[in-house]
């Protein structure tokens, strides 16, 4: 039983950060900075639960999209049988544990099968499970370096190609990467941090009323989860429809030069590396406009997108805290786009 997404109190920034990524997965994921117990993994898991089922190739461990990029096996099946059986599968959150080995991450030779049958078979790893799902990395800043390298390699390509242990195998690995970190426990490599499209900061809610509401809902959920979920069904349906509508609407929202001009005006003074920030703000503001049911992008959409896309990319001096950074960004946005 999963706590309904719409019943989560507060944490609006994190919620919108996740939703925007679902509307346009090419935004590149979400990094959540903040303390424990702020409904981070609950939010991801419950959002996956809320979303419509995926159409996959029946029995494919890599959740191949019959109309998209196929894995080595599905390609072979398509060649020999000329069509692929379809099935529906629930979207889910796949967790990447900290102590993971490279074998588990990218997949490996199926040892048991090889020993018993003398045949070679690819045993899929976490990246296979994660294809077209959420990949959730708790405390991503504590992940081992070589694991991070492997993860980034496939995240960048959207494809996991394995060339090891006598196995040569390729399968799609497109996922929405959600990482969490507590900045006190060490920084993230700038190269990795840049891969996360958006970044939000979460904190426990200070408002007394809201805290009480959290307790109330949790108690209700724990008592009879089925009833609680039923009582939120309408809200869940409305949100799911909004997201599905937005997914198809983004392609109809024009991105005029005036919007691009505004984005460059925001990012230019920050002297950021590369172009990712620009592209992410553009895509996120379009997704936001679609989610809000608008037919064009407003200055407010851009401001909101910039607030999500920039905090982790700003070049800061080490003695500057993330708070002072937030203020800097806010005043900059105020100045450029009043």
């Amino acid at each position: 039983m999963i706590f309904p997404f719409t019943a989560i109190v507060g944490q609006e920034e994190m919620k919108i950060g996740l939703i925007v990524n679902v509307i346009d997965p090419s935004i590149g994921g979400l990094l959540i900075m903040g303390e424990k117990g702020t409904a981070k993994s609950t939010a991801v898991r419950s959002l996956a639960e809320l979303l419509p089922e995926l159409t996959v190739v029946k029995g494919c461990p890599f959740n191949c999209d019959p109309d998209g990029i196929l894995c080595t096996d599905c390609k072979e099946t398509l060649k020999t049988e000329e069509h692929l059986h379809r099935a529906k599968k629930k979207m889910r959150m796949v967790e990447l544990p900290l102590g993971i080995t490279e074998d588990r991450l990218i997949g490996t030779l199926d040892i048991e099968h090889a020993l018993k049958k003398g045949e070679k078979r690819f045993e899929s790893g976490i990246l296979a499970d994660a294809n077209r799902n959420f990949l959730y990395v708790d405390e991503v800043n504590l992940l081992e370096d070589h694991i991070v390298d492997l993860l980034l390699d496939s995240a960048a390509m959207g494809i996991n190609s394995v060339e090891r242990e006598g196995v040569s195998f390729t399968h799609p690995a497109k996922f929405i990467l959600v990482g969490t970190m507590n900045p006190e426990e060490g920084d993230l490599r700038p190269q990795l941090i840049d891969r996360f499209g958006l970044c939000v900061q979460v904190a426990s809610i200070a408002d007394k009323e809201m805290r009480m509401e959290i307790l109330r809902r949790k108690a209700l959920f724990d008592a009879v989860p089925e009833n609680f979920i039923m009582s939120w069904l309408d809200e869940q349906k409305i949100l799911a429809e909004k997201i599905i509508d937005a997914q198809s609407a983004i392609n109809n929202i024009a991105v005029p030069d005036t919007v691009l001009e505004k984005i460059v005006t925001v990012t230019a003074p920050l002297n950021l590396d590369g172009h990712r920030a620009d592209i992410v703000i553009m895509k996120a503001s379009r997704a936001l406009a679609a989610f809000r049911g608008q037919d064009s992008i407003t200055a407010e959409n851009i401001r909101e997108a910039a607030r999500l896309a920039l905090p982790h990319r700003m070049k800061r001096l080490p003695f500057e805290t993330t708070d002072s950074e937030k203020e800097k960004l806010a005043s900059l946005l105020q100045e450029i786009m009043p």
């Binding site: 003398g118 040569s168 900045p183 426990e185 590369g274 172009h275 990712r276 080490p318």
Partner: protein, 617 residues
Amino acid sequence: MSFHNFVGHDDAKLALILNAIDASCGGVLFIGEKGSGKSTLARMFPGLLPDGVPFTNLPQNAMEEALLGGIDLENTIKNGRNVQSAGLLQRAGGGIVYVDDINLIAPEIITLLMKAHGNIRSFEENNGSKPDQPFPFTIIASMNPDEGPLSSHFMDRFGMCVLWEGLKEREQKIAVMKRALNGTGAGINEDDELRRIIQTARRNLKEINVPLKIRDIIADACIKNSTAGHRGDIFLFYAARAYAAFCKETEMTARHVDGVLPLVLLHRKRALQQTKRDDTQKQRHHEKPENEKNGNEHGQGNGHEPLQNRRNVQNDHDRDDAGQDKKPPRQSSDAEKIFDVGADFKVRRLTFRKDRINRAASGRRTKTGSSGKRGRYIKSILSPNNDIAVDATIRAAAPFQTIRGRKELLIIKHEDLRFKRREKKMGHLVIFVVDGSGSMGAQKRMVETKGAIQSLLMDCCQKRDKVALIVFRKNKADVVLPPTGSVKMASRRLLEIPTGGKTPLTAGLLGTYNLISRVHKRSPETRFLIVLVTDGRANQSLTDMPVREEIPKMAGLLCELPSTDYIVIDTEDKKTFTRVDLAGEIAAMLRADYYQIDDLKANYLTEIVQNKKSVGI
């Protein structure tokens, strides 16, 4: 997205086109900051290639056996004899291998790759080659220098090199966003046209007339740029010829050589600075304008982006190169000289270190291989440890299954056992041991020191090193910052360092010793770099002994620690009569590199530390 519509970076595009025209051009390496589109462009390259030319991606996880090919498990067992399967290199034969983040791939793997790649032959010539010969192919690779260096030895193997920066022009930035949005569609026709031009150029390549004077022009260009070896000449010739073919001309001219000069010589030009440095004993920062001048010179007359504003990456090359320089090591106790010619000293010293560290590193690697199972599995080996490579073991057993009378389960014997060799990215821990005594407070010494350490800290954390901070003052040493990867924490502690009180130098050294021993026990593969910052005015002993007697004993202990290097920074005012020069003596005892406070220009210190570490990789 189409190749044609990719915004800017004309030099990178030209490099790819020339490689598509003639494989003898030797591949290309893209060096640039994150998110600047290196990989995006490289991945569009297959679209330019004629049909049937393979484009293979070398993933980060690739193992040695996967590159070379090996026993085909199923067929070997079925047939009862050794059946080989093709490796990645063989499959890539005659085509393109694309390597993202090449500087993160294990050196063993890159060596294999380069061995096969080094073979300069064109596609046509390859068609008749036998399968047991190396398979020539072109390597397209990218790297972000912030993530670590690529040995200049590997870099030199690339025919061309392009430095990338994100586009800074407003219009270009907007254009980049538009491209990202529109995806496929636009520019497809132009790409088709380009592919046709490339195909025609490939056909015409051999017909191009090469006047004798071209060889002169090439030789002159290479001499002028003091390129090391003859790779530059050869690659320059092929690149210029491909460029002539691309321009649909029948004769090679000086213009074609000029057009490709920056692509081919950029990463070889360092030799020029090297010789100059030897001749004039100039210091690094005096040379920078020189670099720029060279860059502009080559930028002229080729119609492509001039190579200005690239000083930073250029310096990275210098640094890499320094590690490769073969010169006899100089004694470190020669302190005065170090002060005069810092840059030069660095170069010579590094050669010495490199040898030593390499040996130590491989020794440690086998040791840790038996204790831990972390790190990337890169190949299987015969020499036993407790980390069995089951895949390789099964393959080794495969040919004998029929003879051994297998019914269902595979029959594995002791002699089949293979073991995993893992690559350990050695962790670096940089420990700052800072004198917090009253004498350090004088003349804002502490301010300067903190400034220098600050910049160093940021750099270390970016490069994935851990840092720790020990402060000694009054009568003890405190680990004010245990090893951490957080630059924020480190900076905060640094700001908080108080000054005042006596100088318990021995306590500082002891604290360092204890910290290293502790960390070494937990993670034996860690390499340590100790940066001792003191004015050497030790006046507080740990025992009843005088300080001057304590220190050599302590230093002796420190010297015995494995995989530890030292840098001593002397903050004493050398103009006073009462100078003690103890810091210099300690440096000699620790066989440390020794610097005085005037050397502490922030950037310079960063370079020192980076150099010391890069030789360990």
